[in-house]
Symmetry: C2
Subunit: 214 residues, 2 copies
DNA sequence: CCGGATCCGGGTTGATACTG
DNA sequence: CAGTATCAACCCGGATCCGG
């Protein structure tokens, strides 16, 4: 992208991360940590492969990501965020919070990846009973499985299943989000097709930070 | 901009404000309030007039701005942010904070407008002695004049001069910012060409929030 | 299969000129 | 003052190809 050429911090930030796809690439790296080229392409449906290669080059040049030559058995290069790159998490969180209301009117043809739920869930959920024993919830939606678990008053969200969990939520992404973010009661969500098994007390314990939307 | 087509709040936000120039237009409206078309063009050096017209149309369509037909004496249309548009201030503040370190290595040919300093100053300065009588500082840099004044523990930054002020700072933008944001001592700033007249105590009273950069 | 590079058609941007 | 019109240059998306 051509530089705005303005002596302004916002313009300078956009010179680096204002390109199309750039912030979405950083979203992927924030969620998943080190990624292979193909992992990124899978998490960014619609991106052209030459654009992904271009963006990764620019991001490395700007010190936002670095490349790791993974040792054998994998023998591939992994892309990681630098510390400077990780500092973009607050930017992405604010943009996501602002954009969350737009999901309500989302078109049905939208692509979806389960791991996209990690950041909004992690930013909005807290453990209301941090002194009781830890609990975890398995979330089955889309093509992958997420696990929510309490940890030090916070709620961590990880990709993949765990051997133990106190409850399982299974259903369409918007129903899962509406239930967990307190926009819908369990009964309504079930009526809309969501399935819930296990201890319902976890829903009173894992709650959104406030009445916030995203 | 073509939609990313992803069921993700970040992608939806970028569908609306991810276009080139869009966030800079919102910056202008945040700083100055209602603007005429020409005000916006002047505050966005480098933008093509057809792009400005396109972006304003899209922003109105998305409910980020609205048009006001200013009554005579001015008899022109003014562009305003809606409440939804004003909610982007936190996004812009985070992006600006992230981008602030990039100003250090800024090229000398960058365009500059004095009012671009309003948001970074207002976000980073507080009144360390909110119970004493209010003070104000006139800042002369670039082509316009700013006035800083304490108000309820905060520091407000407005465009234009005031009849009364306790001190005047006059010099290059980067020196003004370095002094006010605590990155440079007054003596060093003066040695670099900054001029300071009036009560130096205001510099111990109007201070950056922390050691933050932007 | 992985990590791209190359090519091409179409859409977007930027500069300038022009108009009500 | 507030845009529209025009057009060249650039960028994007999709497809294909290629070396490890």
């Amino acid at each position: 992208m051509r530089s705005y050429g303005q002596y302004c911090a916002l313009a300078k930030a956009l010179d680096v991360v204002g390109d199309r796809w750039t912030l979405l690439i950083i979203r992927e790296l924030l969620i998943r940590g080190g990624c292979r080229y193909t992992d990124l392409r899978d998490g960014l449906p619609g991106i052209a492969t030459n654009l992904l290669a271009d963006r990764l080059r620019e991001l490395e040049h700007h010190g936002i990501i670095y490349l790791e030559d993974a040792p054998p058995p994998v023998a591939t290069t992994l892309f990681h965020l630098t510390e400077r790159g990780k500092e973009l998490e607050t930017v992405i969180q604010k943009l996501g919070t602002w954009g969350a209301p737009l999901l309500a009117t989302s078109s049905r043809g939208d692509a979806f990846r389960t791991h996209w739920l990690v950041l909004p869930l992690q930013h909005n959920l807290i453990d209301r009973s941090p002194n009781e024993r830890p609990v975890s919830v398995e979330v089955r939606t889309g093509d992958e499985i997420l696990t929510l678990f309490t940890e030090g008053g916070r709620v961590r969200v990880d990709l993949g299943a765990r051997p133990h969990h106190n409850a399982v939520i299974h259903g369409a992404p918007h129903l899962v989000m509406a239930l967990l973010l307190g926009k819908m009661e369990l009964a309504s969500a079930k009526a809309a097709g969501l399935k819930f098994n296990g201890d319902q007390k976890v829903l009173r314990r894992i709650k959104p930070v406030s009445t916030s939307v995203s």
